[in-house]
Symmetry: C2
Subunit: 334 residues, 2 copies
Amino acid sequence: MINIKIVIDAFGGDYAPTNVIKSAIEIKKELPEIEIIFAGNEKMLKNAASNLKLNISAFEILNAKNHISPEHSPTEILKEKSESSMAVGLKALNQEKIDAFITAGSTGALAVGASFFNSKIKGVKRAALCPTIPSSNGKFLLVDAGANLQCREDILFQFAIMGNVYAKKIFKIEKPKIGLANVGIEPKKGLLQYKETFKMLNNCKSLNFIGNVEARYIPLGVCDVVVSDGLCGNMILKTMEGTAKFLMKSFKEAYSLNFKTKLAAALLKKQHKKLKEKLDYKNYGGAIFLGINKPLIKAHGNSSYETLKKAIKQAVYCVKQNIVGEISNNININ
Amino acid sequence: MINIKIVIDAFGGDYAPTNVIKSAIEIKKELPEIEIIFAGNEKMLKNAASNLKLNISAFEILNAKNHISPEHSPTEILKEKSESSMAVGLKALNQEKIDAFITAGSTGALAVGASFFNSKIKGVKRAALCPTIPSSNGKFLLVDAGANLQCREDILFQFAIMGNVYAKKIFKIEKPKIGLANVGIEPKKGLLQYKETFKMLNNCKSLNFIGNVEARYIPLGVCDVVVSDGLCGNMILKTMEGTAKFLMKSFKEAYSLNFKTKLAAALLKKQHKKLKEKLDYKNYGGAIFLGINKPLIKAHGNSSYETLKKAIKQAVYCVKQNIVGEISNNININ
């Protein structure tokens, strides 16, 4: 049996370290063969566990001085916060024995830290932040959600290669449909680099490239992998979030209007729960940084311990499926 | 009484010319003082009216050779389609007696045509396509939705000035909240030109600039005017459309599941209609091209005659409120 060692940032996210401790204890019951290692201030962590009356003596701790929060500037991870739990975790990933790192901490700091402390897969030009997002007919992988605001065509092309590997190996789709986010479907639409990317993707025999996709079709699930620069990706991801919130709020208001609507809401309770579940991107764990030479997962800041458990399982699955090795192979033949 | 003359593209959009003819006849009943002029092939238009048993003898027709469709390349409006109904309408707008032009035809062709055939307001660097979009607490104006994919800071600054005038005069908001679409709220987020725009807007005393807005808050209505380059604007607009479709579809599926859910749907019928109405951006007429020296309105391709009537009223209101003059004044003092 492979002994998989996963480091988790004990002080990343809104509910840390409580949710991190709980997720580690729970996952050990389900997957005893997985070794979870905390990155965080040892004293604070032990105190927190003791207050929660939880026993963490079975877990290794990589001691950290402090932790970095979203209110800190991302670049502080290189200076004042270079011994924070996130920095310690990222550095640990360079050790041969560590297989993956998970944090629910600041995305900005993580992007800066990963590019400074960690190596990319040989041949990969830029690492991309890739959340799995629910769509009308399932889910899709967004490559990139904001790590690289502007990208040349060779970088966007690599995003497609990496996304394709992930969708194949993790989503278990034989020929993932790859779309390029653009302002129109015609090959000559958009910025110069989009036109060039279109040509490169269209010429690549090993990809199932379906062409440019307009943002209005992305939530409807026209493709399994959406290739985008971080600027457009960020707009797509967050507009989806905001619009879903707007509509759910509107429905909620409509339901609470009078006796009739309240009755209807009661009748629909089960369906609503299902829909809410469907819309919850946290079901898919976290967003993976594709291109880094070990699985590196960014869980949502407000992750519960259940969500963190999913992120841990995602990391384990990425290790078992050898995502990094597969990306390496595919980058170097294309 | 001012005699307002409005030209409408009789052959733009999915239901042309039927919906155009009907909208003109209907608007004449409501606003007899408004003169509607058709741009389109006279023979075809008269045939269509005769088939519909509608009398259009009271309307002037600006004869056109043909019309341009979304499947044509936008630049054809300068060549093969330079005598199309849209081109004829745009050229007519240069005449002193014409006050506004409305088309439900191809957005791409309109952007090309307007920049070639029409003058911008003196001092305006780029015209922006500005749809009014429903939000959780009302509506907002998006400046720009795709006419200018990339914009320098001086252009984005002018977008704010123009959007501010429109929101004041048309939305009747005293101090419109202006937000800059960006990947984060901090002043130093995003592309270089966003950082520069932030500074310019922040220094502008005459604007109620609320700062950078992340796309997740835009559908919730944090501001009245969203300033954006056309690339991000296009992503925001279309992702909102697509996500709303995804959710409405999901609700519809949930409602039709069994007897209980169907009963609930029946109880919620009225609320749903209201919500659908709220989400329908067509209630706001069309998207205005701000910066052109006459009101120029792009109605949605699938506009019904009622939607076109709204677009006509919007054009009339823009003329009466002297949007062009107000923009001119504001551009030249800033």
